[in-house]
Each structure stands twice: as C-alpha cells, then as structure tokens.
C-alpha cells in the first residue's frame, strides 16, 4: 500500500483533483446561492 503514496503519487493526485474540483464547484454554487439570498433580502 505504501507505494500508492510514493511517486507518481497516483492516489494523492486523484484525491487532490476530486477534492479540488468538488470544493470549487461548491464555491461557485455557494456564491450564486449567497447572492440570491442577498438580493432577496434587499427587496
């Protein structure tokens, strides 16, 4: 199992890509949702 973490870091890269993409997606959606709420509040 050790070598999965060693170079070429296959598991590490995989986790990085999945987590990174997920977090960015949530960030963009969250941004839209926040602005939706923000504009409703102002009305």
């Amino acid at each position: 199992m050790d070598d999965l973490w060693a170079y070429p870091y296959r598991l590490g890269i995989g986790i990085f890509m999945v987590v990174g993409t997920f977090l960015l997606t949530v960030l963009f959606i969250g941004f839209t949702a926040w602005l939706e709420r923000d504009f409703k509040k102002d009305k």
Partner: protein, 288 residues
C-alpha cells in the same frame, strides 16, 4: 419542387406579443412608464462609480507592476529547450490535459467543444426563470453543470501552474523542484489489451478495413465508448422524462452530448491516473 419567389415588399411583419421580438419589445418598453422616483441619472451616479472602479483597478495594476515587473528571460534559442516548457497560464489547463489525452484532443477538439458548447448555452437552456437575477434554486441543473465545468477548468490550471515541474512531473509544494522525479514508474496499457488478456479473447481479426485490423477486444472497446454515450443519453430520457420534455429532441441531444463529453474528461483522467489505461479506444488514425 418549384421555389416560391418572395417579394420582399409584400412581406408582412407579424408582431407576436408573447415573444421577445424586437418590435414587440419596443412596444412594451414604450408603454412601460418608469417613474423618476425609481430611477437615477447616470451622470453623476453611475459614471462616477465607473470612474472609481477604473481608478481602483489602475491602482492595483500599478502596484502589481512594482511588485512583479514583466519578466524577460534569455534570448530565444532553438538549441536549448527549457524544462518544463509551459504555455501561458490561461492555456495551462489544456496543456495539463496533454498528460491524459493525445494532442489532437487536448489541444484542438476539447477547446473547440468548449467554445461551441459555450456558444450553444443560450440556445439549449429553455428555462425562462432566472433571467437577470442570481438564482440557484430556480435553475439547479444549469448552475451545477456550469460550476462543475468551471471548477474543472480552474483546477487543471492550478495543477499546471503550481504542481508541474521538471519533465512535467508532479511536484508537491514540499518536493524539491530541482530534483528530477524518477522516470518510468508507471506502465500504461490500452483498454483493449487488458480486455484481451483478462477475457482470454482470440487475437484473430474480426474484420480488416484498410490499415485497420479490428480484433474482438477492439470491437468491445468501441462498444464501451459508444455505450457510454448511449447509456448517458438513455438514463435521463427514461428516468427524468420531464427533463427531456422540457428541452425537446434537438436541445436534449445537444445538452447531453456536451454534458457527457464534459463528464468524460475527468473520467478519462482517472482511467489513466488510477487504472493505468492509456487509451480507451485505439484506431490507426486516432486514439481516445
């Protein structure tokens, strides 16, 4: 069939009140009266706001110029290749895709699909809600789909800019960027080779088309490739019929093609990254 000749002078202009026809819209806006209490004069209210924004942006730019002036490396020379050779940052996402795709896909077809897909967005999104205001709750699928594509684009750029070093190998921030990573640690295999050995298929060709020798395993990989799209097209059609009905035949197929292609990019990345599969589909002319 003889074509009907049209005399432009005799053409009638019909105004559809429900549509967004230009004429209809002019009529609508002409009738709509906005009281002066709802509006403000652009000068000075908006014009000054824009001036402040521009001055603010210029100040930040000037600060950046002092902080990090434009670099100039050594004179261009075809004799010494820098390692790694990196494209401008905004193309590094595409260059990063070169690790997982052949150049014709990563550099030409995928960017073209992104451009065409972007152009098609307004034409394949029939949802009348969410026009002119931020909303996630009224158009969840569009927002999630777009956010996902955007996230994919940015994460690939982040990887290309900060995680690729010598020989385009992966470097964590704590790795020494001056040391080469060990080479040849992974052996990539085509999917059809894996199928051939695990299923014990015979290597005798099923058919021969010029240079193309089609084996049984190759035929199965075609099945998997086409099947991915076929199943992807079928699932929403069968389960979320409402989604299909809203879009209609043409829009549905375009949406699903671009959506599945977008989803296919990370899938292919993981096939090569974690399963060591080089190509899903091999032909003499192109490999995917």
């Amino acid at each position: 069939m003889p074509q009907k000749s049209v005399n432009p002078g005799s053409m009638e202009i019909k105004i559809d009140k429900k549509s967004d026809d230009l004429l209809a819209r002019i009529k609508k806006t002409a009738l709509k009266k906005i009281g002066p209490e709802d509006t403000v004069l652009v000068w000075p209210n908006l014009v000054y706001l824009e001036l402040i924004a521009m001055m603010f942006a210029l100040a930040i730019l000037l600060f950046l110029c002092l902080y990090s002036p434009a670099p100039l490396e050594e004179l261009a020379s075809a004799d010494t290749t820098p390692n790694p050779t990196k494209a401008p940052w905004y193309f590094l996402g595409l260059q990063e895709l070169l690790v997982f795709f052949d150049p014709w896909l990563a550099g030409v077809v995928l960017p073209s699909l992104i451009m065409v897909g972007l152009i098609l967005i307004p034409y394949i999104d029939p949802n009348p809600k969410g026009k002119g205001y931020y909303t996630f709750s009224e158009r969840k699928f569009s927002v999630i789909g777009f956010s996902f594509g955007l996230a994919l684009w940015y994460i690939l750029i982040v990887v290309g800019v900060w995680f690729r070093g010598l020989d385009w190998s992966w470097y964590w921030p704590w790795d020494d960027p001056h040391m080469h990573q060990p080479a040849g640690a992974v052996k990539l295999v085509d999917l059809q080779v894996i199928l051939q050995s695990t299923l014990g298929l015979s290597e005798t060709p099923v058919a021969t088309l010029g240079r193309y020798v089609v084996s049984m395993a190759n035929l199965i990989t075609w099945g998997i490739f086409v099947g991915y799209y076929a199943i992807g097209f079928a699932i929403p059609f069968l389960i979320f019929r409402n989604f299909y009905n809203k879009l209609g035949f043409v829009r549905y197929n375009l949406t699903m093609f671009f959506f599945l292609s977008m989803l296919g990019v990370p899938m292919k990345i993981f096939l090569r990254l974690l399963a060591d599969i080089k190509y899903v589909l091999v032909t003499p002319w192109f490999n995917i």
